[in-house]
């Protein structure tokens, strides 16, 4: 059996086991169990982290606009799927608020309620992604010409502007102003999240391993050389930006699904920072790393380390130390240690199949010499 085949089998096996674990969790646990919550949230974060990695890690564009694109996705998803019957209560402050149609109702009429709802949800997700991509195209025209750190600050600013617009009462009949949007359909179980996010991540992996993905990596490694070798910088950067935003938009829509209610407030720059740090922990330039880091991060912050905040951790009861905020303080110290001393993160730029690679020869030689 050759190496490539081995790798494929290994990867498929790992993914299958993980998926099976998730299905088992779904079948055995009630949907409000914290394990299900963790899986749902982590898959959403994983998708967004991977989309950010596509831009920051694979194309070398330092953008901090992820929260803005998620906002677009989240709002389009919920605005499009709130059933007509619920609009009066949701838009309580805006008479005749909401769009005059609802995807869930439209498709419910065509395919029957259950299937129709799901079809409507998926189409709304897709539209959220497309809207994010459209905005990425528009904002990319002026902004992508900027150099690294200017690009970062400009995209950050763009996300803030979007947030202000979505909270503006002038758009209230659609966005419900500062008020929550709710009563839209969601998936209770974790498996649909895993399937959607998994498919999206698979698409990103396919992109990265295609000729365009290689061009992105060339731009990241050396822009000047890439341009000299015939890669149109503006076009490829824009493409990467739009694609990344598309997936961030889908991620935002899934975030709306996960949260059950949404408002613009959570989509602030802190969310982008959080995702960025997840990408760093996982390894800039590693899809596997981003996914792994998302799960670790969400699992520990939402579940494992909650004790750090509420008095007792690992059986040690010390309310004076383990009080509110200790968990996040510990987290940020870990993050700084990773940023400073393990700059490659968990995975470096390796992917799941690379785990089977032999160690570099040089190290073996060194070990031998050491003996």
């Amino acid at each position: 059996m050759n190496m490539t085949k081995k790798k494929t089998i290994f990867t498929a096996a790992v993914l299958l086991v993980l998926f099976a674990a998730c299905v088992i969790v779904d079948l055995t646990l009630p949907s409000y169990h914290i394990a299900v919550t963790v899986i749902k949230k982590a898959t959403v974060y994983a998708l967004v982290a991977v989309s950010m990695n596509l831009l920051n890690g694979f194309t070398g564009l330092f953008s901090l606009g992820q929260a803005g694109f998620m906002l677009l996705g989240a709002y389009s998803y919920s605005v499009l799927t709130i059933p007509d019957g619920k609009k009066a209560t949701v838009y309580q402050y805006f008479e005749n608020g909401g769009l005059p149609f609802s995807f869930t109702d439209i498709f419910g009429g065509i395919f029957g309620e259950q299937v129709g709802t799901i079809v409507g949800m998926l189409i709304a997700l897709l539209i959220g992604g497309l809207l994010a991509a459209l905005f990425a195209f528009l904002i990319g025209l002026p902004v992508l010409r900027l150099k690294s750190d200017y690009l970062a600050i400009a995209t950050l600013g763009f996300a803030e502007i979007l947030k202000a617009f979505f909270q503006w009462n002038g758009l209230g009949p659609i966005t419900n102003g500062s008020n929550l949007l709710k009563s839209y359909p969601t998936f209770n179980k974790a498996t649909p999240y895993v399937i959607i996010a998994g498919l999206m991540i698979a698409l990103i992996v396919l992109l990265i391993n295609s000729t365009y993905g290689r061009a992105f990596k060339a731009i990241r490694d050396d822009e000047v050389a890439a341009e000299a070798m015939g890669i149109n910088l503006a076009r490829h950067k824009r493409m990467s930006f739009i694609i990344s935003s598309f997936f961030a938009g889908i991620g935002g829509g899934m975030m709306a699904m996960y949260m059950g209610t949404i408002a613009a407030a959570p989509f602030k720059s802190a969310l982008t920072y959080e995702i960025l740090l997840i990408v760093v922990i996982g390894g800039i330039g590693s899809i596997t790393g981003s996914v792994l880091a998302s799960f670790l991060y969400i699992f520990s912050s939402e579940w494992l380390l909650r004790g750090l905040d509420s008095g007792t951790f690992l059986g040690i009861n010390a309310p004076a130390v383990f009080k509110n905020g200790f968990r996040m303080a510990v987290f940020s110290v870990i993050i700084m240690v990773i940023v400073l001393f393990f700059r490659k993160g968990i995975m470096g730029d390796k992917e799941l199949p690379n785990l089977l690679d032999k160690r570099p020869k040089s190290r073996k030689k060194k070990e031998a010499a050491g003996k």
């Binding site: 992109l207 295609s210 000729t211 365009y212 990596k217 490694d221 050396d222 070798m229």
Partner: protein
Amino acid sequence: MSKNVLKIENATMQFGGVVAVDNLNLEINQGEIVALIGPNGAGKTTAFNVVTGVYQPTNGAVWFNGEKIIENHPQGKMKKLYKGEHAGEYNNTIAPTPDVITKLGMARTFQNIRLWKSQTVFDNVLIAKHCRTTSNVFSAIFRLNRKEEAKQRAEVEELLKVVGLYEERNELATSLPYGKQRRLEIARALAAEPTLLLLDEPAAGMNPQETDELTAFIGEIRDKFNMTIFLIEHHMDLVMHISDRIYVLDFGKQIAEGTPEEIQNNQRVIDAYLGVAEDA
């Protein structure tokens, strides 16, 4: 009569008040190896950068395969500052980016190697093929372009065999020894399927033996690919050995042009390289 591949016409490149390239005129014909030499700071790399679209010339034009691809004239602030000649002869602006020029059929290497560091030898060459890809991003994602991809991979393998890097194809580009990195850069440029190859000091930092190998290699490339080559070089052995014609720059100005023999005996060139005594 051989075909004219590259023609630089009255090109002037001025940075603020500094004239880096002053009214350069140059022609390269099909199948020729032409060298551009001159002391450090003479403006050789700047001339390359003008031709490849990295810099926009302050004045002048560049023709490639009979088509005008670059043109500019002093504008804005430069109008007052401009110190060169022929300002009035150009009134149009054509300013393509380097990738456009590469697609037209010109590929270059860099003075200080600029390989894609995290990529393997194979991928470095394969990425250069990207500019010849016709499939769009969707067909790339959904793998509808398998045929094209397979063809490109086969071509890259072939190319690597020709330049003698096939054995190392799966190693990281940066792990190659220096001489092979130079070779890889040339292979990468060839993968972009150019008709004119621009080499920026390909022998920089090489020992005599490596230089000899490189000289032979460049000759091979010309013969095998029927390539026109334009190179900048400091190693006079190499230059004199393979060049058909040589242009000499000093302080941005062209001071001589001719066959290697002519250049070797040109007094101005010798002066430029050795310096002229104060009283001369």
